[in-house]
Amino acid sequence: MSADMKTKAPRGGMLVDGLAQIGACGLFLLALLGAIPRSLRHLREISRQVWFVGAMSLVIIMISGLFVGMVLALQLYYTLSIFGGTAALGTVVALSLYRELGPVITALLFAGRAGTAMTAEIGLMRATDQLAAMEMMAVDPIAFVATPRFLAGVIAMPLLANVFSMLGLLGAHLVGVTWLGVDNGTFWSNMTSNVDVWKDIVNGTWKALAFGVVVSLIAVFQGYTAPPTSEGVAYATTRTVVFASIVILALDFVMTAFLM
């Protein structure tokens, strides 16, 4: 058996493989978007998935938000006190959370919690012929399985990011006001006069939405194209976390540069 009989086409190394993956992922996105009208018939399935990914990630995102807010308050209080500016604590924490940390950390947690679950679930559905069974029952698995999960992630991400930021503010308030003694009125009034709902909160929500699109796309794509074996599914799940994390951080830089 010579080696050239085993490989179907000459391999161009990692770069070509990577580009091929990105191309396939782009085509898959088109298929997902094209199936949206048909998947709207499965509204029950979409809402079930929103509930599922939302509920699954909610607790971890609330706890993380609280701690991130607490740490932020501690660090920034220390820095601000050097300049005698602790009155600005509420503002600085809120801006950091809504503009940056809320969307980014939520997306990373979402990829690890809900994204991996989506990949593993769809991969196993393929491996156990469930997707083929749907095809045989004249139900399009893209419209019934892939698109509802994709949409659920896109819908859930902005909501979860805002929950994260709110809990972060609560944590910062606990540390800043209750523990370190920043005046309660100053904390809130300084914040509300400096945080622009449209510019800051809406910008952050756009980011969260964009992260929702890429994380859900990567998770669903990896699951849908995973080789139908235990090893294939395990490997696809890992790839979801790795690819999603890199894309989130890179996209964050690009969007920050453009939205500033």
Binding site: M125, Q130, A132, M134, M136, M137, V139
Partner: protein, 274 residues
């Protein structure tokens, strides 16, 4: 050689040729599945029986040849036409393929919910009737993970017949069934065929069971149809193929070994030993 004039065939396969991973699974296969009959497809494992069913339902496309189901050439159908055809076909997967997200009831109800707007009461009655037919009405609220292989097979069977299809494909339905369930499933296949006139294609290895329900048997090997006739004709073993297959002999026209290189060489006994 079957001819195109055979109007009584629901499924007509002509000159089917398919390569999979560099091996010809079908090499000019032609056969007919008569309307309203139970036809068994038999042959050694790995000979392409499952693959043939996947071709008939358009899950796989051949490299060459035609496959007509009720007059439509399946490999050329678009998505809409293919889905319309599949709504009239029941398919029993070799590994059941139940949807693990849903319980038994919802699995059987799934095709109805997707394609028919039925009042809940009517839907419930249809589903319970089908579950009763496979003896699992009491298991309606169990999840697929709580079923044994044989039970899952029967749920999958109830799901395959929930729409009263014109054609049912059974892929090894008897594997893992105890004698009682086996008899029930046999009776069910016969009833569906005799009372509703549903054409059935049955892939199975259990000749004793096959001869109780099948009107005809096609024996395929090496990518071709090698024998066909009634179960009784095949059992008489008039050709080398049938003698070998039904006699269970390792040597004959069907090699027991998957094509491989020299055995002694693979074990390292040649050349170097001298």
């Amino acid at each position: 050689m079957p001819t195109d004039a055979d109007a009584d065939a629901l499924v007509e396969v002509r000159d089917l040729t398919t390569m999979l991973s560099g091996k010809a699974v079908f090499d000019g296969l032609s056969l007919d599945i008569p309307r309203g009959k139970v036809t068994a497809i038999m042959g050694p494992s790995g000979t392409g029986k499952t693959t043939l069913l996947k071709h008939i339902t358009g899950q796989m496309r051949p490299d060459r040849g035609t496959l007509r189901v009720d007059g439509q050439n399946v490999p050329t159908l678009g998505r809409e036409a293919l889905y319309a055809l599949r709504e009239r076909i029941g398919y029993l997967f070799q590994n059941s393929a139940l949807l693990t997200d849903y319980d038994v009831f919802e699995n059987v109800a799934f095709p109805l919910r997707q394609h028919a707007r039925l009042p809940e009461v009517l839907l419930r009655n249809i589903v319970l009737t089908k579950l009763q037919a496979v003896g699992l009405r009491g298991a309606a609220r169990l999840m697929p993970s709580e079923l044994s292989g044989g039970m899952a097979r029967r749920v999958a069977l109830a799901r395959a017949i929930v729409f009263d299809p014109m054609l049912i494909l059974y892929d090894e339905p008897f594997v893992g069934l105890d004698p009682i369930a086996l008899n029930q499933v046999l009776k069910l296949i016969r009833t569906l065929n005799r009372t509703l006139g549903i054409t059935s294609i049955l892939v199975a290895h259990e000749f004793a069971a096959v001869r109780q329900v099948a009107d005809g048997v096609h024996l395929i090997a090496n990518g071709r149809l090698v024998a066909s006739g009634t179960p009784e004709q095949l059992a008489r073993g008039e050709s080398d193929w049938t003698r070998q297959f039904f006699g269970g002999e390792a040597d004959g026209p069907v090699p027991f070994q998957y094509p491989a290189g020299d055995y002694a060489e693979a074990l390292g006994f040649t050349g170097a030993a001298a």
